[in-house]
Symmetry: C4
Subunit: 300 residues, 4 copies
Amino acid sequence: MFSMSKPIEIVFSEKKTPSLNSPYLICGFPGTGLVGKLAVDYLIKELGAIHMADVFSSYFSPQVVIQADGTTNIVKNSLYYVKNNNTNNQSINDLPHQSIDSLKSTTNDPLSSKDLILLTGDSQPVVPGSEYVLSEQILDLITKFKISNIYSLASYVTGTFVNDPKIYGTATNPEMVKSFRSFNISTLDNGNITGMNGLILGLGKLRGIEGICLLGETSGYVIDAKASKNLLEIVNNVLGIHINMDEMNKRSKDTEILIKNLEQQMMAKSGQFPQSVPTEEQEEELMFPQNRKSNMGYIS
Amino acid sequence: MFSMSKPIEIVFSEKKTPSLNSPYLICGFPGTGLVGKLAVDYLIKELGAIHMADVFSSYFSPQVVIQADGTTNIVKNSLYYVKNNNTNNQSINDLPHQSIDSLKSTTNDPLSSKDLILLTGDSQPVVPGSEYVLSEQILDLITKFKISNIYSLASYVTGTFVNDPKIYGTATNPEMVKSFRSFNISTLDNGNITGMNGLILGLGKLRGIEGICLLGETSGYVIDAKASKNLLEIVNNVLGIHINMDEMNKRSKDTEILIKNLEQQMMAKSGQFPQSVPTEEQEEELMFPQNRKSNMGYIS
Amino acid sequence: MFSMSKPIEIVFSEKKTPSLNSPYLICGFPGTGLVGKLAVDYLIKELGAIHMADVFSSYFSPQVVIQADGTTNIVKNSLYYVKNNNTNNQSINDLPHQSIDSLKSTTNDPLSSKDLILLTGDSQPVVPGSEYVLSEQILDLITKFKISNIYSLASYVTGTFVNDPKIYGTATNPEMVKSFRSFNISTLDNGNITGMNGLILGLGKLRGIEGICLLGETSGYVIDAKASKNLLEIVNNVLGIHINMDEMNKRSKDTEILIKNLEQQMMAKSGQFPQSVPTEEQEEELMFPQNRKSNMGYIS
Amino acid sequence: MFSMSKPIEIVFSEKKTPSLNSPYLICGFPGTGLVGKLAVDYLIKELGAIHMADVFSSYFSPQVVIQADGTTNIVKNSLYYVKNNNTNNQSINDLPHQSIDSLKSTTNDPLSSKDLILLTGDSQPVVPGSEYVLSEQILDLITKFKISNIYSLASYVTGTFVNDPKIYGTATNPEMVKSFRSFNISTLDNGNITGMNGLILGLGKLRGIEGICLLGETSGYVIDAKASKNLLEIVNNVLGIHINMDEMNKRSKDTEILIKNLEQQMMAKSGQFPQSVPTEEQEEELMFPQNRKSNMGYIS
């Protein structure tokens, strides 16, 4: 199946690819805290998205993943889709095209033409240089559907616990950036986004596809459903999606309890450790480049 | 011999490949503690398995291995086989096909059709992405023999010494998983298996070959013949193999003595170090992701 | 766009490449402290250099870079040019060919034939082996312009703060080396220059193009506009360029303040830390291996 | 020059390759302490070896090397040769073929047919998998000369200073191993030799060329001319070469002084540090695999 000359294999679940109408791509490749991936996984489940294709690749980590039932599968990425006439007790709000593109506001104008492709997976590529090649193959595939915008969901790693994780954003287009404020998205003004969640945006832009990356603030120490919940709420607002958040709220609470336990253990082990989140002064103890990934938190 | 376009060379020891009847593949690529490799090496020796082929590859670590006699050879993987009518003072118990596939029980029904291919080696691939390519070439080779199942033997690394290392398992098939309990195999329900021992299972499944991975619990600090012995006992039960375990029992005792010495040295150096195995409370001191590979031990 | 077989894409901004007269190539790929890159970026701005081409590559770090306006772009390298009749309130001094080649002195002889190509970027290649391939493609491109000399600007990392960072140099040609002293350039006599800033020189030499690498001394702890300013002053002298240094002087002051703050924080945290710059004796304690690559500073 | 499909370039210094008579290959690729490389460099100089070819490769570290005169060159490997009728105030002792092959003894029988090819360089390959490809290309080249044996010179790294570094050996052939004792070579009986110095032996053996690896014991902390001198003395005995060792003896003394200074500094900084070499007991404090490369020292 795989060889050095054929490192990517896309296997469609149906012979005929679905007919989609200028869909959005929403992707959340696994990164620190799984913030983006948890959000996309939740959208897939709550929107009743339909499996479209699996992506296998020798670029992925050489691993099998063990499932809850004890069985194991090779790592893969997967594409799902939601057609806008899908009403699985939820529905995608219809948005006028211009309001989506600039994120100005969600209106009640019907936009029957907007479908979704959802993309997530067990692994990002690990072979040097292969993120570009995989991104290009995914873009090749989804541009056949005349994709209109890309939304990638990622994490913004700070190394400290916070009570109310913020959502940061960047976009390929200054108009999109201008609309961030109205959605309570903090605009990034420097730094890099490493990996597939950034690259698919940047390579999409070279093809003329505009996109947004939304990043949930996370400590980086835990699988962070709390950051994921906050991120998903913004995503829902931006896309005008109304889904049942009960299960995600429950997971977010679990993360909160985990973080509280971690903080107490750290306090118990070190009298110096602050009860609340570290102040700026304490944070500056981590000053040298080798001790912190970036002045602004790092992004994955 | 090797070039970037021809990175794998399989050299058969005989011009004619043996005629095997739906054999099982049992593999144990070298990983932490060499738990799986020691078990397969022992099977090869005790079953009197016949050398079939060597696999050389520029994907392997660029090394030569020094032998006990002072000579040196390039690293390689090797394939051996055992025909079921082989009786080298040992023999493979005949098992009914259905009981093997589901691991329900070992019966006395003759299964004359089951032969074995045994695969181990000095090295796993180290070139990024190459584990996939090597696995595919090995699967190409062994599917010519109409392989029926794959058993891969690996290690489950915990970072702590235990008195009676457990055997964990995962399989490509829920029926196989269900039978684990009757063989005293602890079923894994999350995590990843990295490297060839996992990948060959996952890629085999994509070809429709079912497989099981059995993992011996090990601290990760020593070459662990004790874990290997426990693993081999389960393998023998699962496959219905009866081999002389004397030499393996002796090596297991050696490992026990080595571990005991290590524990005493650690105690001597640190009053805090527990005499027995670490308790859960102490283990939780290693909480952050950077300090421990996984909540559940890591797997190689 | 990218595949494993087409990893580099050079996109020209105009259909017709400019007609340049035996230009110099001045490059500063991003390295520690961004010493060389800041200098080339400043030359591009102050000389009003014209954008010629962008280099995209799957060899670069898989990242998008976030701009000050909140938008994001894929990492790239960029080529600019300055024609010698360009007078954007600045101008390149005309130098006789022989004085440039040997760096003996800057005279007032007009050398109307000397144009500049400036090359910098967001990233160096990260795929193993790809620095060679990218260097060769860049050399292929610029040799079409009959490039006369290559000047690469890099950093010399020492791990300690100094008040007046020195400029070090090496060249492909002993005549060039001899002229270093008259420009207050300290001649290196051992060590390596790793990455594109060194490689483009070495591969250029194999094609018969002579070149010089000038390296600004830096601690390695900060983005070092101070080292960059000192480096740029020497570059200006060597090339006979007269540009407005006001903005660079201002940034250099900012770096000085940043360094002073860092030193005070380090002092506050450790009574042993010297108030002034580390003396040679303290340096020899030296300091942490991870903080310095070599006794002589490392070079990037 | 370089591309991903043409990563190695061998440039001969003469149009016509020399006519050599079943030469030995003596190689010392740069490794820890430069033990082997210093020895081969010294042989090249003292035997007046003639430059045959340079090997450039994108597999090497992306670096230029700065020379003592301030000039810089891209990293490369180089091949030299010595014809046996060469008498540059030194000469290669004539050895009977069978005594070389088994290293039994050096006799006075003339062996006019034995020439030497000497191979060393600035860098080992750094691209994963490329050591194999480079070794194969070098073997392709030298087998044209009907090479009779390969001698690779490497280092055996122990992490401790010793007064009289030993020479260890391994060979592709048990007969060669048997003769080690008479040359005061300690036979290795386990472990690996990583990199070109091991690989060229292992891949040579697959082509039917026998070889020996001799390893000079070194701490790994310094460029170790002392280990190199000891290694060269054994090499001279084995090959029956008589060269002037004055310069090497002088460098060895310099290394001794350097080591003595290092030991004193370490003692001064830590009361616990032993005055003499670490005893076995102290060495055993570094017991866990992560703390030491191997029980037997590691080899490069």
